[in-house]
């Protein structure tokens, strides 16, 4: 009997452990493993409200279980149960206690709400301007004179003040591990601040239905040491003002020519080119092709063959490139680097 109980207890503990380990998701993506003060404050509020609510739930379940067992109709039971009208005492109890519990929740709700609603100027926080597009993200650092897309590069342990808008439909900017989301509304600007407490890569997502490829509107947040970030910003700025160096191989030079002819109308590189598509200045540094596929030659070629197949409804047309052209483009684009990231 005893060993039976023990093995059940072990099984229970093991199950609980497995649940907690798998139940919190990936550190890079999950709101349950906060990686910065904003996400931590939000996680604290979640824990507080969830604990109060689970307490209420346990009370409800205890009463329900008791009632269902104790007062089920037994065979042969006759007679009419007492018809109780109500009880003022009980009703006051279950009006007042929830009210008090709500006050416990309300206080940190108000304080955190205003803490998160603060706006920081450029002396207090790094300013980043986010513009959402169908289905990619544009990031500008107005005080640094740097502009990039898809991979948001941030310094560790520093507040970042975002100003967000959209170029087309509504989107929502969400980096669960660093903090909650805010909508990007066309024609309007929203503000939000975040901070990362550790370096590494975090996953960002669009959280507002924005069209066919809403699910694929992912981005990455690359959090660097502060000096690394400063160096990155310097290099980006340098590249954007200088003439790009000619690529080394003949194939890449050919790729560059194709790029200038077919791509530059929409995609900027080193300060030149259009703004309809993502800026590709540091394309080869980025984690992903189009935010979703691993950034390697194979996947980039796949993207160039048919962008609509990989990300339905996006604004990039199929350029009908030959395999040779794709090959040259891939080689050229792999030279678009500004940093050596340690991964």
């Amino acid at each position: 009997m005893k060993s039976w109980q023990q093995s059940w207890r072990q099984l229970f503990l093991f199950g609980l452990l497995a649940l907690t380990l798998s139940g919190c998701g990936m550190r890079e993506l999950s709101a349950l493993q906060p990686q910065g003060p904003v996400a931590a404050m939000q996680f604290d509020l979640m824990k507080l409200s969830a604990s109060i609510m689970i307490g209420v739930f346990i009370v409800v379940m205890l009463i329900l279980t008791y009632v269902l067992i104790r007062y089920r109709k037994r065979p042969g039971q006759e007679g009419i149960p007492k018809q109780v009208e109500g009880s003022h005492t009980l009703e006051i109890i279950w009006t007042v206690i929830p009210f008090l519990l709500l006050i416990v929740m309300a206080v940190p709700t108000v304080t955190t709400g205003f803490t998160l609603g603060k706006e920081y100027n450029k002396d207090e926080a790094l300013q980043v301007r986010v513009t959402a597009h169908q289905f990619w993200w544009e990031f500008e650092y107005p005080d640094l004179g740097v502009s990039t897309a898809q991979d948001l590069v941030l310094p560790v342990n520093q507040k970042v003040q975002f100003t967000l808008t959209s170029a087309d439909v509504m989107h929502a900017f969400w980096i669960p591990a660093l903090g909650g989301k805010i909508d990007t509304n066309p024609g309007l600007e929203n503000k939000m601040w975040l901070q990362a407490d550790r370096t590494g890569v975090f996953y960002g997502k669009c959280a507002e239905l924005c069209g066919a490829s809403h699910a694929l509107m992912d981005f990455k947040v690359d959090v660097l040491e502060q000096d690394e970030f400063a160096a990155w910003a310097e290099k980006m700025k340098g590249v954007q003002s200088a003439e790009p160096a000619a690529p080394a191989s003949a194939n890449a030079v050919q790729g560059q020519q194709i790029f200038e002819k077919s791509c530059l109308g929409c995609h900027a590189v080193a300060g030149k080119g259009g703004k309809l598509g993502p800026n590709l200045t540091n394309f080869a540094d980025r984690q992903r092709v189009a935010g979703i596929m691993p950034n390697d030659a194979e996947h980039l070629a796949k993207w160039l063959r048919d962008p609509q197949k990989e990300k339905p409804g996006n604004n990039m047309p199929n350029l009908n490139l030959s395999e040779d052209q794709i090959n040259s483009l891939v080689e050229y684009m792999s030279t678009l680097k500004v940093q050596e990231i340690k991964r």
């Binding site: 798998s22 609510m53 739930f57 009463i63 709400g113 669960p176 989301k181 997502k205």
Partner: protein, 614 residues
């Protein structure tokens, strides 16, 4: 139809159903139409979950997926949940207050046909160039011409037509409940389901105009080139959200309050006890309805309203937990000290309590704006509102259907099948939606047609899809049950559950005039009062006399058909078709206004004859 016909012009078969103004038959029409739309919405849900079973699947494409989620939400809320609620309201409310019909039987039929044609119009989009794909909330910008297809026009026009039906249905029930109560049926003696229907109808009256305004503005933007929501032309994209949620949040209570009413009736009957704290239950219902209008912006915490508005709307939202808590504890205390029986109706009611409590709990969690920045538009929200709408409303509707089926159809539903129905649906439901709370917190946004492998989202999605099969089996078992019951020749007794309220004092199904003699109500739980006084049935407030009945009419059907036709005219910019449709509709209105229709009478000898048969 002569002016003083004493006999109904008998129509049979399909003509009878197309012309009926009898609230009981309209209730069945609502149930059948709502049921068919429920199956369509369920099929869409099944496809959604199959697509998300594994990462990066290609069961349906990205655009089709967005059409599926849009149609699933729109269908389930407007075309399945609301009509089935109206089915029960129609079938039961007049009986519970001792009335012979609703206040405006003709308008009642018109409400049904408007809803029906609106719903059909939206669903024809599947065959006419693609369904709407901007989500059931249809947020402008995405719903504007530049960014979405033709499908949104079906949403805009179909919902206006269906919404008109709902609005006049709501007004009809307000008037009915205020004016048609039997002698002695004071407001504070009305059964809780009638109270809930009353408050819900009030909410419909005030909430539906808001979405109608929104839909009209969106229609002008889409069809006639206006720019209310177009930022490039000076429009504002956030206004749609406000209009939508000023309707949308009360809509949640429009849906859930009738379920609260049903649970109150079922729990009380099957505990053989009067409802604990009746007056506080009534007060809580009204308070929830009132507060429901004060909190719409909690759907918009991430829109960028700023911390002051967010905090105020958050705190107001939390307050709703108090009356909701009162209800849950009153149900528990109703069972306390009773003799609880567990037919399927009560299984659903008892299953409702923990399930809805979880939905309410996550609701309070969502009312904390800073935490909501994480929950918002993630699968956490999907889990929350399915706990409320499926775990709350649909469980309540199943409880109500199993409870009132004998009264509506005169046949019992099979209890063994019913128990299988409950357990498969209950387990399937929790398997489907419980893991979604965690998926949301682990970083899965809602309305995504796929998710990438290796982001820790595989297991939860897989379990969730498995759960859907349970819910599917449960729904199929219900259909089988309805079929078996229809085929069986066994007739249901007038009062199969030892009922407490007026509807159980008359035969199942009730005769067309409901009450041969209007009953005299002598207390809360009118029938129970008589039972306790040792009486065999109700005492009557009038002698047996001739009963005035309304005539059936084709006009509601044709009037709605006219708007249906005009809807296509608007969408295809074909103003001849618009004209034809409008002529039909306004012609019917003119006919209705100019032609006297005094109805007919059923004489006492006929009633006695029928009374013997029933």
């Amino acid at each position: 139809m002569s002016a003083h016909a004493s006999h109904a012009p008998k129509r049979s078969g399909i003509a009878d159903w197309l012309t009926t103004v009898d609230h009981k038959k309209i209730g069945i029409l609502y149930l059948i139409a709502g049921g068919i739309f429920f199956l369509a919405g369920g099929l869409e849900a099944l496809l959604i979950r199959l697509q998300l079973m594994y990462p990066e699947l290609q069961v349906v494409g990205a655009k089709t997926f967005n059409e599926l989620i849009t149609m699933h939400g729109t269908t389930m809320i407007f075309l399945a949940a609301m009509p089935v609620i109206f089915a029960l309201m129609n079938a039961i409310v007049p009986l519970q207050i001792g009335a012979r019909d609703v206040a405006f039987p003709f308008v009642n039929a018109l409400g049904f046909w408007l809803f029906f044609f609106g719903g059909v119009l939206i669903n024809t989009s599947w065959f006419l160039g693609g369904a709407p794909d901007a989500g059931w909330t249809s947020y402008a910008t995405l719903a504007l011409n530049q960014y979405s297809g033709f499908g949104i026009d079906f949403y805009v026009l179909g919902l206006q037509i269906a919404g008109l039906g709902t609005l006049i249905g709501g007004i009809n029930f307000l008037v009915t409940i205020i004016n048609m109560r039997a002698p002695g049926m004071t407001f504070m003696r009305m059964p809780l389901f009638t109270w809930a229907s009353f408050v819900t109808s009030g909410l419909i009256l005030f909430a539906f105009p808001a979405i109608t305004v929104g839909l009209v503005l969106l229609m002008f933007d889409r069809l006639f080139g206006a720019a209310f929501f177009n930022p490039d032309a000076g429009g504002n994209v956030v206004i749609w959200q406000h209009l939508f949620w000023i309707f949308g949040h009360p809509e949640v209570y429009i849906l859930i309050l009738p379920a609260f009413g049903i649970i109150s009736e079922v729990v009380s009957t099957f505990s053989r006890k009067r409802l604990f704290g009746y007056s506080s239950m009534v007060f809580a219902t009204a308070l929830i309805g009132f507060l429901g209008f004060m909190v719409w912006a909690h759907h918009m915490f991430t829109t960028g309203m700023g911390p002051i508005a967010n905090t105020l709307f958050g705190l107001a939202t939390m307050l709703i937990a108090v009356p909701t808590g009162i209800k849950i504890f009153n149900w528990l205390l109703t069972m306390w000290g009773g003799q609880i029986r567990f037919p399927t109706a009560n299984l659903f009611a008892v299953g409702f309590i923990p399930t809805f409590t979880i939905g309410g709990m996550t609701g309070v969690m969502l009312a904390v704006p800073p935490a909501d920045y994480q929950y918002h538009d993630s699968y956490f929200v999907v889990a929350h509102f399915h706990y409320v709408i499926v775990g709350g409303l649909v469980f309540g509707l199943f409880a109500g259907l199993y409870y009132w089926w004998p009264k509506m159809f005169g046949k019992m539903l099979n209890e063994t099948l019913g128990k299988w129905n409950f357990w498969t649906f209950f387990i399937g439901f929790h398997l489907t939606f419980f893991p979604q709370h965690f998926l949301g917190l682990m970083g899965m946004p809602r309305r995504v047609f796929t998710y990438l492998a290796g982001q820790g989202l595989e297991l939860g999605n897989f379990i969730s899809t498995i759960g859907v099969f349970g819910m599917t089996i449960g729904t199929i078992l219900f259909l089988v049950n309805a079929y078996v019951s229809a085929k069986s020749s066994k007739r249901a007794p007038a009062d199969p559950w030892d009922g407490r309220t007026l509807e159980w004092s008359i035969p199942s199904p009730p005769p067309e005039y409901n009450f041969a003699q209007t009953p005299l109500v002598r207390g809360l739980d009118a029938l129970w009062v008589e039972k306790m006084a040792g009486n065999k049935g109700m005492t009557y407030a009038e002698p047996l006399g001739s009963i005035h009945m309304p005539n059936g009419s084709f006009l509601p059907f044709i009037m709605s058909l006219g708007l249906f036709i005009a809807g296509y005219g608007f969408m295809y910019h074909n103003y001849v078709v618009v004209g034809i449709g409008m002529v039909i509709t306004f012609g019917c209105m003119l006919m209705r206004s100019l032609k006297d229709d005094p109805g007919y009478h059923i004489e006492p000898d006929e009633i006695e004859e029928k009374g013997v048969k029933a």
